[in-house]
Amino acid sequence: MALGPEAVARYSRHLLLAEVGAAGQERLAASRVLVIGVGGLGSPAALYLAAAGVGTLGLVDDDRVELSNLQRQILFETADVGTAKPLAAKRRLDALNPGIEVVAHAVELCAANAESLVAAYDVVLDGSDRVGTRYLVNDACVRTGRPLVSASIHRFEGQAITVLPGRGPCYRCLFPAVPVDGGESCAEAGVLGVLPGVLGAIQATEALKLLLGVGEALVGRLLTYDALALEFHAFPVERRPECAICGERPTITALRDEPRSCEAGEGVSSLQPAELARRIASAAPPRIIDVREPHEFSAGHLAGAHSVPLAALERGLAALDAGEALVFVCRSGLRSARAAAEARRRGHAVVANLEGGLLAWRATVDPTLIVSG
């Protein structure tokens, strides 16, 4: 496929690079990249890949644009609030580069669709905001042999690693299991708006290098970026022979959905705030376990709640009677869902999670409750 006059002008700065040139630009035009998570990371990554002339861009996200996204998710504008993210992103990217095809997948990535989605693309970028999705994407890429560029962020810090299945460590080699608390999302921990710009641009860079076959991919190295110190570090990462997905004897033989943080785990009941209020007022109130950090607890908490920060969860659970009714709470219900699932795994019989967390409690039961953050 020869480049037309419009493409020659549009990509002229690429054509000047011997590492790209006409052949490389044509290769990009014939390439397909899947961006999972159209958020802080996916925004800059998709913008740069569209601008670079990647022929087909797939965008996976089941969220809608919110006003709080606009501080960092530079694909979107104020008028997009309420629109499905992949659809709003497609409008923006179509306008940026009408010569490429943008495919909006407005679905949640899950075990049932991950492999077929990933297999339809040449390179996958993971910028999802859920730790369970990170493992699902990794596993789907390993099983289909698709290169993966994974990145993640927290407050002022970011990480990135490129996975070439069979030729280096995968994300499970790097971090074999999900932390008990599922990690904090940007909604819980906050994030400097420009931080994902740096990491998303690195993901786009890696994707272009892989498609063009130039440079040294970030394989077998974990890149960390600290925006406050303005420091980059690259740490060596090796394949783990015992890795559950890419090791010598994989134990994951089919994709599985990691429990979503916001859903109750097996054996954990999900309590609405009004129901919790009723139980607290009953003759046999449950024990309320607040798993937030101590500074969040001290700012305001439910009367009678016990503070057991996630860091002390194992010790805290060990000190409780396994038959006692427990209700876990946190700010939004995410961390407490993980803690509740852990309590079930450790043999506690009656475990519930406050759905929507203390924010929901404040909204529906007690507007005077101070909820930190």
């Binding site: 974990l222 060596p236 194992e314």
Partner: protein, 89 residues
């Protein structure tokens, strides 16, 4: 005893009053983390489980050398990097 610079992963900085880098003493991972925990109570448990294993979402490096167990030595002058899986996107 050798004092080491310790770089703290973002999710663990709630223990160090927000500090990105602190100091701790010790010749191996166990001693360094014990000293770190004396200075910042609770931080060790976020990285090391009750069987003294490094938690699966944590990696420890002395400069660019990965520490795979608590008995691994930390050479004099090496910076200890505490790396934690991040999940935001």
């Amino acid at each position: 005893m050798a004092s080491h610079r310790v770089r703290i992963a973002s999710p663990l900085r709630s223990y160090t009053a927000g500090a990105a880098a602190v100091s701790a003493e010790g010749g191996n991972a166990a001693a360094l983390l014990a000293d770190l925990d004396r200075r910042y109570p609770g931080i060790r448990f976020r990285m090391i489980d009750e069987q003294d294993r490094i938690r699966p979402h944590i990696r420890l490096y002395a400069d660019r050398e990965e520490l795979r167990s608590l008995t691994d030595a930390v050479p004099e002058g090496a910076v200890l990097h505490l790396i934690c899986a991040l999940s935001g996107g």
